[in-house]
């Protein structure tokens, strides 16, 4: 207790400690973590199902098959209809807003915790890193489950529309037909969904966490949710 010594500089925590603290937090708050993660899952599932459904539609059109029920739908020759673009854009917006909202809620209800950690000696950077780790993990697992669920949904819809033909012409890999639009393929759509979910979750959580960490602890702790 060298009380009169000049005040030293706070040290950085080893990465393992941050990792342990963040997993502890996810584990104990399991119910709440699941709800936040479910928000990500839903957003990505919606986006991926619409997108994959579209990929399937194009692939089967290319192959000359027509949907048994979508025959009357106006398509722009070959390729994506404006309605499909509209749907994809809408699902993207729903996904972004949904995930940002669920992360923001999850951080806001922990402002007091952030203020308390700063009272105990946490650096701002530690607080941000904690939320980065937690949301990165939630984002990845939530988005992966969502992408798989979304694909499953699109496949079921495809089966209904095209029957077993679906599997002969399934657009698994990227392809570029001579006169058709570029197709990403379902695998790329799943990957993009995962990456997007994770990025949205990490930004949606770290940005409010960073703002809370910058606040003086007295203010962060005043926040009642």
């Amino acid at each position: 207790m060298n009380q009169r010594a000049p005040i030293e500089e706070q040290i950085d925590l080893p990465f393992v400690e941050s990792l342990r603290i963040s997993f502890q937090s996810l584990k104990i708050r399991f119910g709440r973590s699941i709800i936040t993660t479910a928000g990500i899952t839903l957003g990505i599932a919606f986006l991926v199902s619409v997108w994959t459904n579209n990929e399937i539609g194009i692939a089967l059109q290319e192959s000359g098959r027509q949907s048994t029920i979508n025959t009357f739908e106006e398509t722009t020759e070959k390729g994506i209809s404006t309605k499909d673009i509209w749907l994809i854009v809408m699902s993207l917006i729903v996904c972004v807003v949904g995930i940002a909202n669920s992360m923001l809620m999850a951080v806001t209800e922990r402002f007091r915790e952030i203020g308390t950690m700063k009272c105990l000696g946490a650096l701002d950077g530690f607080v941000v890193r904690l939320f980065l780790l937690e949301s990165g993990f939630q984002g990845f697992s939530g988005a992966l489950i969502g992408a798989l669920l979304g694909t499953l949904g699109a496949v079921l819809l495809g089966l209904k529309d095209y029957g077993l033909d679906l599997f002969f012409y399934f657009p698994l890999l990227p392809s570029r037909p001579e006169d058709g639009p570029m197709q990403l393929g379902v695998i790329v759509v799943i990957l993009l969904g995962c990456v997007l979910g994770m990025i949205l979750a990490v930004i949606g959580s770290s940005f409010p966490a960073w703002r809370a960490a910058k606040l003086p602890p007295a203010e962060a702790m005043r926040t009642e949710v």
Binding site: P6, I7, Q24
Partner: protein
């Protein structure tokens, strides 16, 4: 020469809300000696918590200076302020402010994790501190599973984790019944006596009167008067039946 641990110089704190400015502290000058037990008394809204935040580096004054161990707090870097909060001060709050995801033990080890203390050492220290506050058999319970008095004991153990020279307590007994409150006060007083830790406590709990060395009465953001122990004892007699 007295050993001054906390000194405030014309500390002013204003809160801006839209076009309104609320002057919560209106020029506070106090000096606190090492080892003292000081109570900041005053009605609700008088500025006790605001002063508590200034002394504990939890917020910055609008004007004026705070010196702790002769260091001007406004001259410290972010890292120094974090280290100051980690090593020099133990905070105790009215609403306990335990981290809900960590057990009693986990709450007590956290400031030691921030201080870089090795795992084995901090685990032992946490067990020792929790035993000392009478929670030896509740160490691995989550805060939700503890009573108010027990939570405040965890907060006290946590405040002591890095051997601070100052304990800052903001209405530590306000959410507790009279008997539990008394126990918490006795515990804090015991630390003050045995370890010579300086205690600064905001309160309007009259039970705090007879353990305090001095009482600073705060009113409307100003120090109204400062009373010494011997001046208080007469008054305590009058409220003894509380």
């Amino acid at each position: 020469m007295p050993d001054i641990v906390v000194k405030t110089e014309d500390v002013v704190k204003e809160y801006r809300m839209g076009s309104n400015v609320l002057r919560a502290l209106d020029g506070i000058n106090i000096e606190i000696e090492r080892g003292e037990y000081i109570s900041l008394m005053g009605p609700s809204g008088s500025g006790k918590s605001t002063l508590f935040n200034m002394i504990g580096a939890l917020d910055q004054p609008t004007e004026g200076q705070v010196y702790i161990d002769s260091q001007n707090m406004s001259h410290l870097s972010q890292r120094q302020i974090a280290a100051f909060r980690c090593h020099r001060v133990g905070y105790i709050f009215q609403s306990y402010n335990l981290l809900p995801v960590r057990s009693a033990h986990g709450n007590v080890t956290l400031p030691m994790i921030f201080a870089g203390i090795p795992e084995k050492q901090r685990n032992e220290k946490a067990e020792e501190l929790l035993a000392r506050v009478g929670l030896g058999d509740r160490m691995y319970h989550l805060p939700d599973e503890l009573s108010g008095g027990q939570r405040q004991r965890v907060a006290i153990a946590r405040a002591l984790a890095n051997d601070p020279s100052i304990i800052l307590a903001d209405e530590p007994t306000a959410n507790l019944d009279t008997i539990t409150g008394r126990e918490i006060i006795d515990l804090i007083k015991q630390l003050n006596n045995e370890q010579g830790v300086t205690v600064i406590s905001a309160t309007h709990d009259l039970k705090m009167l007879d353990v305090s060395d001095r009482i600073v009465d705060i009113r409307d953001g100003l120090v109204e008067r400062i009373r010494n122990r011997d001046e208080i004892e007469i008054e305590v007699g009058e409220v003894g039946g509380e």
